[in-house]
């Protein structure tokens, strides 16, 4: 391992390999998306260009308001995802931190558990 360690002057050296890979993937996606434009015939018509709505003329726009439930799920997700991110450093070092570190994590999870119980009680998690 020593030869590779000597080269690692910047933390980004580890991630250089992603560049040629990205080039391959993006190239494949671009080629795949452009080829039908060259190979296939395109015809346009006012009715054909409408969005699909069971074969009937579309009623109004689709960019309308939708259920507030989706927003609440998104907000809850942000809370719990940040919780998970904060717990990652604890989880990596729980073997060294021992009981004291664990009690801190318990308090942290308990507060969020209360939040989940509150959301549960307020029927945010029910879809009717």
């Amino acid at each position: 391992m020593s030869p590779t360690l000597a080269v690692q002057t910047s933390p980004f050296v580890d991630y250089v390999g992603i560049a040629p890979y990205l080039l391959l993937v993006v190239g494949m996606i671009v080629v795949l998306m452009v080829l039908p434009l060259l190979l296939a015939k395109t015809t346009r018509h006012r009715v054909k260009d409408e969005a699909y709505e069971c074969g009937l003329p579309p009623q109004g726009t689709a960019k309308q308001r939708f259920s507030v439930h989706f927003y609440m799920v998104a907000v809850l997700f942000i809370l719990f995802d940040i919780e998970a991110v904060f717990l990652f450093p604890w989880a990596t070092s729980v073997q060294e931190l021992g009981p004291i570190g664990f009690s801190g994590a318990v308090v942290f999870v308990a507060v969020l558990g209360l939040g989940l119980a509150y959301a549960w009680r307020k029927r945010v998690l029910d879809w009717n």
């Binding site: 030869p3 590779t4 580890d14 991630y15 390999g17 992603i18 040629p20 890979y21 391959l24 993937v25 494949m28 996606i29 795949l32 998306m33 080829l35 039908p36 434009l37 190979l39 296939a40 015939k41 395109t42 015809t43 006012r46 260009d49 409408e50 969005a51 699909y52 709505e53 689709a62 960019k63 939708f66 989706f70 799920v73 998104a74 809850l76 997700f77 719990f80 995802d81 998970a84 991110v85 717990l87 990652f88 989880a91 990596t92 070092s93 729980v94 073997q95 931190l97 009981p99 664990f102 994590a105 318990v106 999870v109 969020l112 558990g113 989940l116 549960w120 998690l125 879809w127 009717n128």
Partner: protein, 353 residues
């Protein structure tokens, strides 16, 4: 040829190989899925193109390329074009983090069988795989079709809900292995079942020390990749086609490419986190040379991944689809509390040992 150039060439070859491997899983999975579904349903399935219908995916690709590229008049053109690429790209990037085999030996130097051996590999893998939700939400919204919008909304809500269970179940595994690096995680599962003699830590496969986390991760990975029984975003019987209703030609196929690569990534993560990666009981005792050992490890790893990919297909054709309210309740009221409790129990045991 100087050793440095040879090593550089080997690294490039490795990157191309991993790219080709990821790409070729898609047609293999498509033909397997269609033949197995036919077998499950007492049909014959596609068997006309090539021997046993093996060239069917190739014919599908030709057909995709020859299809008209349709864009609805009311659609937001830029986002409509960006969405398939945004859905397809993140699962491919996850594959750069997967260590497929033990390090190879090229010119006396170690060549790790992974493109990016990141010290925060598992966080990066979860973060990248969750980026898929952007492509799906944008695709659903920009089509300006009501079915697409509903499919995109449902899909994004489902994916973020199950991502929590996914991330939290991984936390318990990290408590046991004490590292975020995916290669290190595998090397800490050398024994099949048992503890490390020197440190007293668990050194067996994590499926035995973390069975609950394994089940939560498995269920959540099906929801993350939008597979049955959680394929609500597509729900053909309710939403026509879900978020890709308005898509045609290769843009449509890119969504599915992303889905299949996502399944590959999830299967790889399951194998790394819970099933000891390339380890197989008895192989280490054979005392093979490094390159042969790496090759055997590669085969073992791919066999385990193949098992989980087949399980994806088998589950799809066995279980019916959830109702949407049931789906969200399973995610928030069952998997999330179980994952949280599992972290606390695991943390308790690890902290006091």
């Amino acid at each position: 040829m100087s050793p440095d150039i040879a090593y550089f060439a080997a690294t490039l070859a490795k990157i191309v190989a991993i790219f080709l491997l990821s790409v070729h899983v898609v047609p293999i999975m498509v033909i397997l899925e269609r033949r197995i579904s036919a077998w499950v349903q007492f049909r014959i399935g596609p068997n006309r193109v090539g021997p046993l219908g093996l060239f069917q995916p190739l014919a599908d690709l030709v057909k995709f390329l020859g299809k008209e590229d349709f864009v609805p008049a009311q659609a937001n053109k830029v986002l409509f074009w960006a969405a398939p690429a945004l859905t397809c790209l993140p699962p491919f990037l996850v594959m750069t983090l997967i260590p497929f085999a033990p390090p190879f030996e090229v010119m006396g130097r170690e060549l790790p069988a992974v493109i990016v051996d990141s010290s925060i590999g598992i966080i990066l893998a979860l973060a990248l795989s969750s980026l898929t939700v952007y492509g799906i939400a944008i695709g659903g919204w920009s089509s300006n079709s009501k079915y697409s919008l509903l499919g995109g909304l449902r899909s994004s809500a489902q994916m973020i809900s199950y991502e929590l269970a996914l991330g939290l179940s991984v936390l318990a595994v990290i408590c046991v292995s004490g590292t975020l690096n995916l290669s290190d995680m595998i090397t800490r599962q050398t024994a099949f079942f048992g503890f490390d003699d020197a440190t007293g830590n668990w050194a067996g496969w994590n499926i035995f020390s973390q069975p609950v986390a394994f089940l939560v991760f498995l269920v959540a990975s099906y929801a993350e990749t939008n597979r049955l029984p959680f394929d609500l975003p597509e729900a053909e019987s309710e939403l026509v086609g879900g978020y890709h209703t308005e898509y045609s030609a290769t843009k449509f196929s890119l969504f599915f490419m992303g889905e299949y690569i996502g399944m590959l990534g999830m299967a790889c993560l399951i194998v790394i986190l819970f099933l000891g990666g390339w380890h197989l009981p008895g192989v280490a005792a054979l005392d093979l040379s490094p390159n042969v050992f790496a090759l055997v490890g590669l085969l073992v790893f791919m066999a385990k991944v193949g098992f989980f990919l087949l399980l994806f297909i088998q589950v799809r054709w066995t279980l019916p689809r959830f109702r949407y309210d049931q789906l969200m309740q399973v995610g928030w009221k069952v998997l999330l509390p179980i994952a949280l409790a599992n972290i606390l129990v695991t943390g308790f045991v690890v902290a006091w040992s």
